[in-house]
Amino acid sequence: MSVAKRFGPYGGRYVPETVIGALDELTEAYDRYRDDPGFRDELGALLGNYVGRPTPLYRAGRLEEAWGLDRGLWLKREDLCHTGAHKINNALGQVLLARRMGKQRIIAETGAGQHGVATATASALVGLGCRVYMGRTDMRRQRLNVIRMRMLGAEVTPVDSGSGTLKDATSEAIRDWVTNVDTTHYIIGSAVGPAPYPEIVAAFQSVIGNEARAQMLAETGGLPGTVVACVGGGSNAIGIFRAFLDDAAVALVGVEAGGEGPSGRHGASLALGRPGVLHGSYSYLLQDPDGQVAEAHSVSAGLDYPGVGPEHSHLRDTGRVSYVNATDEAALSAFLECSRREGIIPALESAHALAHVRDGAAGLAGPGPVLVCLSGRGDKDVDQAGAALGIDASA
């Protein structure tokens, strides 16, 4: 077997003994099917006809102008994926694996609800029962996605422990998996968790970077100077970064949730955390001196997570990727600017990447164009962003 278990010192399988057998089974299934023509054809056809891949690469000319980016600003439009975010790339890949493993039931955690919607969608498509765990706080702030999941036939289970956000939903999903592991496949939604999940999720998401790299070459005749993506658990970021890791001249920048700013609450695990174990892997983590996991904070539910995928921890330590952060306030204003100048309402998560491009433009290394992973669309965020920005539907 050659599916990565560690990235440098990070990763591993720090989970109850009960699910180790299932992780082995998943590793074997993934190793067996990833290059299997039948599997690749089935996934490839779905990515094309169902998800709408390849997603466009779009030049955001009016933002370039507003932000003084003469070198060019290109958006990889994952917001145009069916269900509205990159999460479907992974959910479909995993649900096809689950079916080949003979599992009858799918579970997932979700923060912003995009992974929950993607998993509910993929489950409906193949006819498997689906339960999604979601923190109560997130159910409130991403209401639209709760309704979508239920319409798609998934059961949405509220989680009250902790702060009722993504960390707590993930813990509860893992407990369900520990209890029902014989029948159930757990579709984890980001490049986190015990091995082999970080590798599997990164591999299914690397379609983003593979397409974007070819599209940049076709459109501009060269590679981007800088690639920017938001980092919650890190799946859209690793998905776009992987294609450029060997291109030493391409600067890679991950943008974490800066939350309330330097003196407040945030979700910047890589910048301000230290390595520890949460949800099955060793990686950078927000925690107190005794190792109690801290509550993260972000205006965006998808970045409101105290951990991060192990591959990002390794890329941080090696220096190949720089990790920065953008505050709630910066993300909200970038959200509005992108909406008004490009006619694209971005997900609040993706707005963090845009905010960094705007605010860090002068410091962006390399002369070439900037490529941003626009990981999702912002329909789900209209209640929350509207409230923060003073926009409502009153007559």
Binding site: P16, E17, G21, G162, R175, T179, V181, G291
Partner: protein, 264 residues
Amino acid sequence: MPEPGALRLERAFRAAGRPLFVPYVMGGYPDLDASRRHARILARHADIIELGVPFSDPLADGPTIQAAGQQALDGGTRPWDVLRIAGDLRDGPPVVVMTYFNTVIAHGAEQFLNEAAGNGVAGIIVPDLPVDEAAEVREVAQGVGVALVALAAPTTDDARMAEIGLSAEGFVYLVAVTGVTGGQMALDDRLRALVERARRHIKVPLVVGFGVRTPEQARQIGDIADGVVIASEIIRRIGDAPDADAADAAVEAFGNAIAGALRT
């Protein structure tokens, strides 16, 4: 150097000549003093005490232990406070600390295990540290005479059982159900077969836990295993008690009942 924890634990099994009672106390629940009292009360009935160091995200635990751990953390409980409870129990049965891996490594595994050893802790159970990730910590633990007690589950295949058996010290904690703590176990053919299968690969004593609630269940488990862990049920009884005295009395009565069931 005091007698290594693994030997103390193995001696406890030999000395008893009957299945061992291993009650669980969550350090800091409902508060630190109460948990110290409950541990002392249980020490009169128990053969080994399992002492929980609370962790914010306990993946192997159901709602009862989760909530108890959270209450302990909300009350300001720190790992060192809980380890000192073990220090208080030095004249009693051996203490095995149960916590999660991040608690062990937060200040460095050396510091946690030194502190544990200094408080006379015989063993440590880390449910999110499976055997293939455990080598480094086991070495540190052995260096200070603390046994790293492994877990095995119904989903553990024969090859892993053998791997667990190879490095096992003190005893092995056999998880009775596919699930988290606080569920309902049933003594059925599957559990009997699991214990038999584990015995073929694991030579140290087998203690069964997860979902044991009543003296009758404890007695039945005692017929097939070397010991019984009871955790959530004790916490539930403490939580249901109207005041601290009633909680102490409930712990005493329950400890007495389980110990009695295992003696007959």
